[in-house]
């Protein structure tokens, strides 16, 4: 719509007698309102750029620099080349944290994706009553602080009197010490993430589903497709970009998970044997407990690299999977 509007205004605008007409290709912003003086754009964006340079970009560049230094809180500043990275690759805590992070990420992302698409499909049903109410309820977990929720979940997953173990016990099984086990602690952490993000992502998927043209469903049902087939052949392929988006955002967040394990364990070490230490938690431990700032900066760079690699892989896999069209 804005595209056509732009074309219209450009045609109806009389050529300026003062300036030679500029070919539209040279515009920095093809959607701009040309009668407004564009130079003010520098002023309007200046606060953002100044603040961002000081508190965003400069710290990042400085981080990249000190990753090549032996740099600590006491004032040691010694260039050591790639020694931090060499040390990191030989550090079992790093690999342990990486495995934990990926495990928690998989345990949370896959159920969350399936459940949020399913929920969105239920909410998409036009005959649903009280849909505003349900939509609003879905967002409640997302506005709550991780701290408050980790306290509640920590109690619910408690070994002796946690609700989860009481249910497990009532079903005739042995109590599980969720916090002490590796996989079990990952499940506890993943459940917090799933609880927090499923509803939010369901709303994202719902918005995408509402944007699918109704004719697609009508012609599918004329062809004899039932509800399930409509979902597989119409809804899912139309959600391709949205799934990619949710996965990439989920990956960026999921590979940086730290608040849940930090609160669950009560310290930066991620459990007594580091069974739920994550990459970012490891970074914070090195930065604010061990005060090895150069080493921590190297961890930060590795997190960035891993996030970038996984995001690119995600992007291509979802493209391929959904792009096969079906």
């Amino acid at each position: 719509m804005s595209q056509s509007a732009v074309v219209k205004t450009r045609e109806s605008k009389p050529p300026s007698p003062w300036k030679p007409a500029r070919p539209p290709k040279k515009l920095n912003n093809p959607n701009a309102v040309l009668s407004l003086n564009g130079r003010w754009g520098f002023l309007f964006t200046a606060p953002f750029f100044v603040m961002f340079l000081i508190f965003g970009l400069a710290p990042i560049i400085f981080s990249i620099v000190i990753a090549f230094f032996n740099y600590d809180a006491l004032g040691t500043q010694e260039f050591i080349g790639t020694a931090n990275f060499t040390e990191l690759f030989a550090d079992t805590r790093f690999w342990n944290a990486l495995v934990n992070t990926v495990d928690i990420w998989l345990l949370s992302t896959i159920p969350m994706l399936i459940m949020s698409i399913g929920l969105a499909a239920v909410l998409h049903n036009p005959a649903l009553r009280g849909s505003t109410f349900f939509r609003t309820i879905l967002l409640v977990p997302n506005i709550t602080s991780v701290l408050a929720i980790a306290i509640v979940f920590g109690q619910l997953f408690g070994r002796d009197f946690g609700m989860v173990n009481i249910i497990i016990g009532a079903l005739g099984f042995e109590h599980v010490d969720f916090i002490q086990g590796t996989t079990s602690s990952h499940i506890a952490i993943a459940s917090m993430i799933v609880w927090r993000w499923t509803g939010y992502n369901a709303l994202i998927f719902l918005a995408a589903m509402l944007a699918i043209p109704g004719e697609l469903y009508e012609s599918a049902s004329l062809d004899g497709a039932g509800k399930w087939k409509q979902f597989i052949y119409v809804t899912l392929p139309s959600l391709r970009n949205t799934i990619t988006f949710v996965l990439i955002v989920g990956t960026i967040g999921g590979l940086q998970v730290f608040a849940e394990p930090l609160i669950l364990g009560g310290s930066y070490n991620g459990g007594d044997s580091g069974q739920f230490s994550t990459l970012t938690l490891f970074l914070f431990e090195q930065a604010f407990v061990a005060y090895k700032w150069g080493y921590a900066a190297a961890i930060g760079i590795m997190i960035t690299v891993i996030v970038a690699i996984v995001s690119v892989i995600n992007f291509y896999i979802t493209r391929k999977l959904a792009g096969d069209g079906k």
């Binding site: 564009g38 710290p59 049903n125 005959a127 109690q155 709303l203 608040a259």
Partner: protein, 292 residues
């Protein structure tokens, strides 16, 4: 929008087989379960806080509110008398950050969406790329910077780095691009309005709703931010709600009632706020979704 909704609502009735009768039960059951799971942690927070730790530590546990709520809450204030101060600090920081983010994001978003200036494409790309970077990447230098600025252990350490975010700028750019027609701005400038006038009297009224939503999200994010305040704040007078709740955690071994009492106090204001603004937040999330 509302018209199509009405049509959608009435369509099943015109068919002889209403869709909600065919698959409604399963749908309502799953929504019921989700509603229960979404609310339960809050209910449980209150149950534990009102029963005390001993009552909860037995099988089967109490599932109903108990009589000790005010005892537990007064315990919270005994352990940390500054808890109210912490709540006030959080409201203050959240409000300032929200207002600043809306203001700076709106003007930058306006420039990116509607003005033509040099280097713009690069700048927009730059904004998008920065959103992808892990926020922990620069946390150590930021920590050093804040301490050198003399902001350590002050609310300024929370406010100043958060005044504007790449996400906010990007979001406002999308909003202004989608909601403000170019014709209106053209017409205003033909009538002699400059950039400021056009922004003030045309753009601002149109984006008021979306700005409010952005402000709410900033407020919530600030309220719930945990690690950074924990790193930079030391004295209880300067605590935010999250740091205060965390302080309860480290004061005793595991006093669930005390912890949940604190968690309840720090969450209740948000839930009350949510009753009033929940629908707008839902619309904001859905408007910002990637469609198709």
């Amino acid at each position: 929008m509302s018209q199509t909704e009405i049509q959608e609502q009435t369509r099943p009735k015109q068919n002889k087989k209403p869709r909600w009768q065919r698959m409604g039960v399963l749908g309502y059951v799953s929504l019921g379960i989700v509603t229960f799971l979404s609310i339960f942690p809050f209910y449980w927070m209150f149950i534990v806080a009102s029963n005390g730790t001993d009552e909860i530590s037995k099988i089967p546990p109490t599932l109903l509110p108990g009589p000790r709520f005010f005892t537990v809450i007064s315990n919270v204030y005994e352990v940390l008398p500054q808890f109210n101060q912490a709540l006030l600090n959080t409201v203050y920081v959240g409000t300032v950050v929200a207002l600043a983010q809306v203001f700076f994001s709106a003007i930058a978003g306006f420039a990116f969406a509607k003005l033509n200036f040099k280097g713009q494409k690069f700048m927009v790309l730059f904004v998008i790329l920065t959103m992808m970077l892990p926020s922990q990447l620069g946390i150590i230098p930021l920590f050093i910077l804040i301490s050198q600025m003399g902001l350590m252990d002050s609310l300024g350490a929370l406010i100043i780095p958060a005044l504007v975010t790449a996400f906010g700028v990007f979001w406002m750019r999308q909003v202004i691009d989608a909601q403000v027609p170019n014709e209106l701005l053209e017409a205003a400038s033909i009538d002699g309005a400059g950039v400021f006038r056009a922004y003030w009297s045309i753009v601002l009224p149109i984006i008021a709703q979306s700005s409010f939503v952005l402000g709410l999200f900033s407020f919530l994010a600030t309220w719930n931010d945990f690690l950074w305040p924990l790193l930079v704040l030391n004295t209880p007078e300067n605590f935010t709600a999250q740091v205060a709740v965390n302080q309860l955690k480290s004061s005793y071994a595991i006093d669930y009632a005390l912890n949940m009492g604190g968690a309840f106090l720090s969450t209740a204001p948000l839930l009350v706020l949510f009753i009033f603004v929940g629908r707008r937040l839902v619309r904001g999330v859905m408007d910002g979704a990637v469609k198709g």
